[in-house]
Amino acid sequence: MLRQPRHADLGSLATEQTDGDATFQLRDGGRIAVIGGGPAGSFTSYFLLDMADMVGLDIDVDIYEPRNYTRPGPSGCNHCGGIVSETLVQLLATDGINLPTSVVQRGIDSYVLHMDLGSVRIETPLQEKRIAAVHRGAGPRGVVEPKWKSLDGYLLGLALEKGAHLIPERVDHLAWVDGRPEVKTRMGLPQTYDLVVGAVGVNTNALKLFSQLEFGYEPPQTTKTYICELPFGEEFVERYAGNSMHVFLLDLPQLEFAAIIPKGEFLTVCLLGESIDKELVQTFLSSPEVERCLPPGWEMPEVYCHCSPMINIQGASVPYADRLVLVGDCGATRLFKDGIGAAYRSAKIAASTAIFKGVSADAFKAHYLPSYRAIGADNRLGKLVFAITHQIQKHGLGRRMLIRMVSREQRRKDAVQRMSLVLWDTFTGSASYREILLRGMHPFFVLQLLRHLCVATVRHAIAGIRSLTMRWRKPLSQQRSTLEEMP
């Protein structure tokens, strides 16, 4: 008999409280399927097993992941810029998860802001490497002997160490059977679970499987990005990029954010914005600001690892039903930045809800949905932050004001680094967009901003007058030289 579970009605004010409903409580021997073994799936499995162990609950967790993270190239990679944010590095360490040196290819302690007016290095107050540059797979296409391990592979390994089972197959069918989710792979027999956790990315057909379950799920809205791995060798990366992430604020339409991230032997170029196309990538790479960072005469190699993955820019409509919850990219993630951090947060809250509150739609509504909605609310503020950044990128006066303010802050280390911190958090994803906006609305920050804007305007005007004067004087001087040359 096919019986569909209750839909998650986001708008209704359900009075039925099933937190304590024994039907939806996980018991000893409870079975959980996690579909997708990327960070969201591995974190959910890890915390489900960790919290179950804490309360003395014996559960089985199966992770369905067909990807082999020990294989270099696209087949073993989950396509992402590969930055673990400062906040996430700290939270993982607090949770007892240290990112090993075999996974972290470069600890980042600063970033260099590049604009047409010049470049400025911004360092963290602690001068400590707290951002991790990683490869999601075992390395780009063409790597023969991988020196570093995959982040996704490492996190999956942690979940397996906790007791999860890996089923290295692709799920091709999901259905409800007697109110329980059933999972089937092409080769395997159908398996019924007490809870299914959807942890797939937005670059997969698996999203359709959840839409077909008819619980009101509509996949997230996405946009195309661009990532490429340029092989420069460890020595060049060390000498030219060091421990800094290079961020570019260029007046290029459609481009919201561009960065070059040092990783072992490679520089990762990461472009974010509205539908990045090939033409924009070429314009970016041939811009003088980018050329300044690369060796003289450097040319794009004929073969290099690159991809144009989709990213989630607006969360899915309904991320749960009875015995089903969606975490990470297939649900909601942070706009443009810290996707791995958002996966960690949603995974942990979904896991704690399942273990302590049950697996009913009402339990997820009460305990998972608020955090899920908070991500969406913060992203709306994020759009505002990026709109402001875009305006600064577009206007020469804005860029002049920005570089002036940051340069002065960096010269005077004892000064309060308001703009530097706002930019640091915007570009590294280390704080919520709400915090960034609040910092940007601080009266002292606004006053400083206005002061630097005034100075930049005056200097811009003086430069304009000088240029006009030079143009006016030029014909005179030309006349004089012509007269002098006469016999």
Binding site: F47, M54, Q90, A93, T94, N98, L99, T101, E128, S352
Partner: protein, 134 residues
């Protein structure tokens, strides 16, 4: 120590925090070991050695005082040095507010330390032993 690794590297014997400092952060050992030393009456008492993934400096974070709490022991990198990650007070407290499960591991470690302290006290009283002699 890997130059690209996260955190900050301390040389062998270098102090990470000193007794009497004001604790503003928590520290997590990423690599290596650290010695916890209490300075009393011009004498150093070796309290314990911390290993990789252990953390320290957490007590001042939770002391509800206007100024950050005072650190009660010096922590030094052991032989071979140590790589340490700093965890900001604000980051950790804000996240514990949103996700109380983040505090489980801290509570677990603090509980173990209290248990160890009780065992040391009992041994001191019953055997008159100095725990630092071990």
């Amino acid at each position: 120590m890997n130059r690209g690794a996260i955190g900050r590297t301390y040389k062998s014997g270098e102090s990470i925090i000193r007794q009497g400092d004001h604790g503003k952060c928590m520290y997590v050992i990423q690599e290596g070991r650290c010695m916890v030393v209490r300075e009393e009456a011009e004498r150093e008492v070796h309290l314990t050695t911390l290993e990789e993934r252990d953390f320290f400096g957490e007590v001042p974070l939770f002391e509800r005082v206007r100024d950050p709490g005072v650190v009660r022991a010096t922590i030094r990198a052991d032989e071979g040095g140590a790589r340490i990650l700093t965890v900001d007070r604000k980051t950790i407290l804000a996240r514990i507010h949103d996700d109380p499960s983040l505090a489980y591991r801290i509570l677990e470690t603090m509980s173990k330390r209290i248990r160890q302290l009780e065992e040391d006290m009992v041994r001191l009283v019953t055997e008159g032993m100095d725990p630092s002699d071990e």
